[in-house]
């Protein structure tokens, strides 16, 4: 059974709604099949689009002849990148950093000049049915000049490696925008290294000299996909007045609008994006792929166009996260104090710059207080899918390396791995390797909860079994967010927010409003607004929604509360200062006869001055970082190399859990994605760079049969930066699992796994290598 221990760190405020487990507001639609996801939209006269994708990992597109496809009955339009305005991509043109270099974004949507990975979109058609559209793809004649591909970062960094972008220069300083292209006049050649940067603190030489034990290891991880079950789909209607409506599922309707406007080169005010339910994102639905294509095809045909991806297209045409090559060196004294560390991280960005190397580097040693350290990072382009964000982008691979080395140090020093971490724990005031000091974080509290947990203290018996532990750190994000709320005559509140709801955030946001107003969670009806009906709200990402949009909801509720108190004072002809709202009842501070329930007052609004609408637009600071500690028990079959997870416990500082069930769900889901990353998942490529496992059969994500129950422990160290103490919870649970399982495999077999995934083949190879090593030794 899942054990939920809430440890009281400070005296807890008493909440009526926050911390309870109501049934989510959008639940009924989702269990009955009524909820509308991106592919569920069907419009009168709608055409179906399909995208033609490059069969080559690296090729010059010499020509595209669409005439045969256009001649097929039922085909209404064909497009290529020649139909899109081409941004120059010069540094001066860059908008929002690497991820938003408009040229790269546009060229990833439809290849221009070169196809840079197998699966890169090259052309698109609109036809009367999906089947006709598919037939038409086979009639588009593309002449390619095939170039040698470069398929991993080490090869890409070699002298003489095939160059993906002739004008790409290495931004060897974090203060130059990464992903910049040289001016045409610049004679320098291109590089596959898009950026390189370093953080350094203290005195490394002195630090390593003080160490009694030094561990040095190299690690390799592979690209893994976010694996959302809903394939991408976008439907667009370009009206004759130049305004376009786009229906799609994404993590940010405003991001989809802004990126589409950039690619189509039209004012963003001409685009309305209607967010449909999103069938999983995990970071992978933050970039446009199909939206501008559907929009252009609609413009060309005058009809609504829906473009949907197949599962193969999702694997081959959308972002996985980076593969990596990492080196870590760390020293510690006999009494378990880390004295110095260095690390070098090379992340594969895929075809365009923008791997999560920066957060990887910054999170790597986040949980620890290390006085002397140096970390360098490289962002390297290769001929594979352009990577996209994936849950705590960059942090999981880095933590796998760091936490494996920490485990080895603890083992060599014969110190309990939790005690070792406690001796080096980062806490409020600890200076991070990247410079700033920590505000209040709950690493120590979470380690203590792990130390006291029955799982950690249970005996683990039987051959080939082992227990591992690892910690993980994630910054958490924030951003602009908007909410409006209207009080209905029946005493309910209609809340419109701007954050697409991936995993139950409507409930968490609505509950924060209900808490302020003293009404039941069920009396707030939340919905996610389109770009024309709610203020700008930044993307659902960075574990930000319960924090930032929860905050907007809290502020909008305060606005309603203030207006209702004014109204009560007006009705009673008293001063507003004498009116209070307590547990959903407005009452006069000194006259007990004067009281209105929230519902009673709501019913009087229209006749006492008109409706009341609350609003808030915020950009809150003070996110409060997240810490997770995971414990894994595994059994390794020495005959097959298969690792079975026997027991798993995930502990996390959650600040304040608004809806504990969905906090547990985030933790369980993140842990299981991490278990998949640890044990099975990887992109396989053949020598020509073709992905060879682009189906759910061959890209093996965990099934119900592969897992035990995932126990969770919610440690609540309230975030002082939020009215209810909320911290983001969604991302950090994917950070510790790979190291926790690697450390458990080490305990079970004596072998330290330094490559992901730790698939049966990889484990067997390591066991045999170890055996040979022992025999040789």
């Amino acid at each position: 059974m899942a054990v939920t221990t809430v440890s009281t760190v400070e005296e807890k405020p008493k909440y009526k709604v926050v911390g309870t487990r109501p049934i989510r507001h959008d639940g009924l639609e989702k269990v009955t099949g009524q909820a509308r996801y991106s592919a569920d939209i069907n419009l009168p006269g709608m055409l179906h689009g399909k995208v033609l994708r490059s069969p080559h990992a690296h090729a010059v597109i010499k020509s595209i002849d669409t005439s045969r496809a256009l001649a097929l009955p039922g085909v209404e339009a064909v497009m290529t990148s020649a139909d899109l305005p081409q941004p120059s991509g010069r540094v001066a043109d860059l908008g929002e950093g690497a991820m938003m270099n408009p040229k790269f974004l546009s060229n990833n949507t439809l290849a221009s000049g070169k196809a840079l990975y197998k699966g890169h979109a090259v052309a698109a058609v609109a036809a009367v049915s999906q089947h006709v559209a598919e037939e038409a793809l086979s009639l588009i004649d593309v002449e390619y000049e095939v170039l040698p591909p470069v398929l991993n970062a080490l090869d890409a960094m070699k002298e003489g490696a095939p160059i993906l972008h002739e004008r790409l220069f290495t931004a060897d300083n974090p203060f130059v925008r990464p992903g910049g292209l040289r001016d045409d006049a610049d004679p320098e050649g291109g590089s596959n290294v898009a950026s390189r940067f370093v953080f350094e603190m203290g005195d490394l030489e002195k630090g390593f000299a003080e160490a009694d034990v030094v561990v040095e290891r190299e690690f390799r991880t592979k690209a893994v996909h976010q694996g959302y079950i809903e394939p991408h789909s976008a439907t667009a209607m370009w009206n004759r007045d130049g305004h376009v409506t786009i229906w799609c599922s994404s993590q940010g309707q405003f991001a989809m609008r802004d990126q589409s406007a950039l690619i189509l080169d039209i004012p963003l005010s001409q685009i309305k994006v209607i967010p449909l339910e999103i069938g999983g994102g995990f970071g992978g639905k933050t970039l446009v792929y199909l939206e501008p294509v559907a929009a252009w095809l609609s413009k060309k045909t005058g009809r609504p166009v829906k473009v949907s991806m197949s599962r193969q297209e999702v694997f081959e045409g959308t972002g996985p996260t980076s593969g990596s090559f990492m080196k870590v060196k760390m020293g510690a004294t006999k009494d378990g104090r880390i004295t110095a560390t260095t690390a070098s991280l090379i992340y594969e960005a895929g075809a365009f710059p923008g791997s999560p190397i920066n957060p990887g580097v910054q999170c790597m040693f986040g949980p620890y207080d290390i006085a002397n350290g140096r970390v360098e990072g490289y962002d390297v382009v290769i001929n594979t899918q352009k990577t996209a964000a994936y849950r705590a982008p960059g942090a999981p691979a880095a933590a796998y390396a760091a936490e494996s080395v920490i485990d080895e140090l603890a083992e060599k020093l014969n110190i309990d791995p939790i005690d070792f971490r406690v001796r080096n724990v980062a806490k409020e005031g600890t200076r991070r390797l990247t410079g700033p000091v920590f505000p209040k974080i709950g690493h120590l509290e979470t380690l203590e909860a792990a130390k006291n947990h029955p799982h950690w203290n249970a005996p683990l018996e039987g051959p080939n079994r082992g227990r591992g532990i690892a910690a993980g750190f994630w910054f958490n994000g924030s951003g602009p967010s908007s909410a409006t709320a209207s009080v209905s005559q029946d005493g309910t509140v209609i809340l419109v927010e701007g954050s697409p709801d991936i995993g139950g955030t409507r409930a968490a946001v609505a509950m924060q409003m209900a808490e302020v107003l003293g009404i039941p969670a069920e009396d707030v009806h939340p919905s996610v607004g389109d770009t024309d009906s709610i203020g700008f709200t930044s993307t659902t990402g960075g574990s930000s929604v319960a924090f930032k949009t929860g905050w907007a909801s809290y502020e909008a509720a305060q606005d309603i509360k203030g207006q209702m108190i004014e109204r009560v004072a007006y009705i009673w002809d008293v001063s507003a200062e004498d009116v209070e709202l307590t547990h959903g009842v407005f009452h006069h501070k000194s006259d007990p006869e004067l009281r209105f329930t929230f519902k009673e007052l709501a019913g009087l609004l229209l006749e006492t001055g008109g409706p009341i609408v609350g609003r808030a637009a915020v950009n809150p600071e003070g996110v409060g970082s997240a810490i997770a500690v995971h414990i894994a028990d595994v059994e390794v079959d020495p005959e097959t190399g298969k690792t079975e997870v026997l027991r798993y416990t995930a502990l996390q500082d959650v600040g304040k859990a608004v809806h504990p069930s969905y906090v547990e769900g985030q933790i369980q889901g993140g842990a299981v994605q991490g278990i998949g990353w640890a044990l099975n998942e990887e992109y396989f490529f053949d020598e020509e760079g073709r992905m060879t496992n682009s189906s759910f059969l061959d890209y093996r994500m965990p099934t119900s049969l592969d897992l035990p129950m995932i126990d969770t422990v919610l440690v609540e160290v309230p975030n002082p930066g939020h009215p209810f103490g909320v911290r983001g919870v969604g991302e950090v649970p994917i950070v510790p699992p790979m190291a926790a399982i690697a450390n458990a495999i080490k305990a079970a077999t004596g072998v330290r796994m330094t490559n992901l995934p730790m698939s049966p083949g990889e484990v067997l190879k390591s066991l045999w290598d170890d055996e040979e090593g022992k025999n040789a030794g």
Binding site: P174, F175, G283, T286, P393, P480, G503, G622, G721
Partner: protein, 89 residues
């Protein structure tokens, strides 16, 4: 006085100086103060009158969303670090 930290990769511009203290009430004044002490450093931090979009400013450990307008207290620590993009749940 606020303490302003020079990022590792800009320390060549400061001849190895890692940290400076001077009067400043907001990030704009911090950048101006740095530019006075280390001419040329400002262009690495500010572009088109704004903090570069791939940079974040952390004041007392918390990233600010206010850019050059962010207030700096008399005992504040100011850091310039690469911005982090999140991935969502």
């Amino acid at each position: 006085m606020p303490r302003v930290f020079i990022p590792t990769m800009l320390q060549p511009l400061t001849e190895g100086v890692q940290e400076v203290e001077f009067e400043a009430a907001n990030v704009r004044q911090v950048v101006q103060g740095l530019e006075e002490r280390f001419p040329g450093i400002g262009q690495w931090l500010v572009e088109d009158g704004r903090i570069k979009p791939n940079l974040a400013v952390a004041i007392d450990g918390e990233t600010t969303s206010m850019g050059l307008l962010a207030k700096v207290g008399p005992d504040s620590e100011v850091h310039f670090i690469p911005a982090i993009a999140g991935g969502g749940e």
